[in-house]
């Protein structure tokens, strides 16, 4: 039976010194873009509907995480340091199911957008381009 799993308690952890370290003050997380690649294989003598086939490759996911940004926080700083000096770094997403289920992504490209507005706390959006298959 499928269960409705709450989002509350979902965690994003970054490997720092081989220790999975929780990203602080996480507001939301989105993992998107993982899909199998296809190519069009329509031929001139084919039917009206165009056809496609899998290439056998898969586009890896991108992770986007919104946080309340703390410029003094060492974990936020460690993430931001990856932008200028990118190093392949493992990120673990742990869901709040009974398991709990965890998925590890290898992050290779990093970004961090900051925003301040009267209606919200100082915020940041982390983006992580992943490489290869999640494990």
């Amino acid at each position: 039976m499928a269960n409705k799993i709450k989002s509350k308690g979902t965690a994003l952890l970054m490997s720092i010194a081989s220790v999975y370290t929780a990203i602080p003050q996480l507001k939301s997380i989105s993992i998107s873009g993982e899909k199998s690649e296809v190519f069009e294989n329509t031929t001139l003598d084919g039917s009206a509907f165009k056809t496609k086939s899998p290439t056998g490759y898969v586009d890896p996911a991108s992770i986007s995480a919104d946080v309340f940004y703390d410029p003094q926080n060492a974990v936020h700083a460690a993430f931001i340091a990856l932008i200028a000096a990118p190093v392949a770094t493992n990120f673990k997403v742990t869901f709040a199911d009974a398991g709990p289920t965890s998925v590890v992504y290898s992050g290779v490209g990093f970004g961090f957008d900051k925003s301040a507005s009267p209606a919200d706390g100082l915020s940041g959006t982390m983006t992580i381009e992943t490489s290869g298959a999640p494990s």
Partner: protein, 136 residues
């Protein structure tokens, strides 16, 4: 320069040195019981790793060199460690973090409800009293 983890952490086996591997233990993960690699609370790290873990609030200095390099008072280090514990427990909303710091909650149960902390009863008594006063 040395520091010890204040809480148990999951270990990233893909990147660690042989020396660190000897410190890894395995523990049951949640209800599913699948064993995962961990560094138990009290595991000691050395060098820059030790300092980085202290700065994140994950570890506490276990020698003077690390304490000096960290340069935090005990109160500052405690605040950092409490902040980190909240992150590990998935306590992200500012109002929930205030309740955790005040000892009203200790986290969430598996249904996402508050787990009572040491001041849970006191807090609810005060809340009820305020609500009653407002009604008058």
């Amino acid at each position: 320069m040395k520091a010890k983890l204040v809480i148990t952490h999951e270990a990233d086996m893909s990147t660690m040195s042989e020396e660190l591997k000897s410190k890894v233990r395995f523990a049951k993960n949640g209800e599913a019981g699948k064993p995962i690699a961990i560094f138990p609370a009290g595991t000691e790290f050395e060098g820059d790793q030790a300092l980085a873990l202290c700065r994140n609030g994950q570890a506490t200095p276990s020698d003077q060199e690390c304490a000096d390099a960290l340069g935090l008072t005990e109160a500052q280090l405690n605040a950092l460690q409490i902040g980190y514990k909240m992150d590990m427990l998935g306590i992200h909303k500012p109002e929930d973090r205030e309740l955790y710091r005040a000892g009203v909650i200790s986290g969430f149960d598996k249904n996402g409800r508050y787990k009572p902390g040491v001041n849970w009863d006191e807090y609810n008594k005060a809340k009820t009293a305020v609500a009653a006063e407002e009604e008058v």
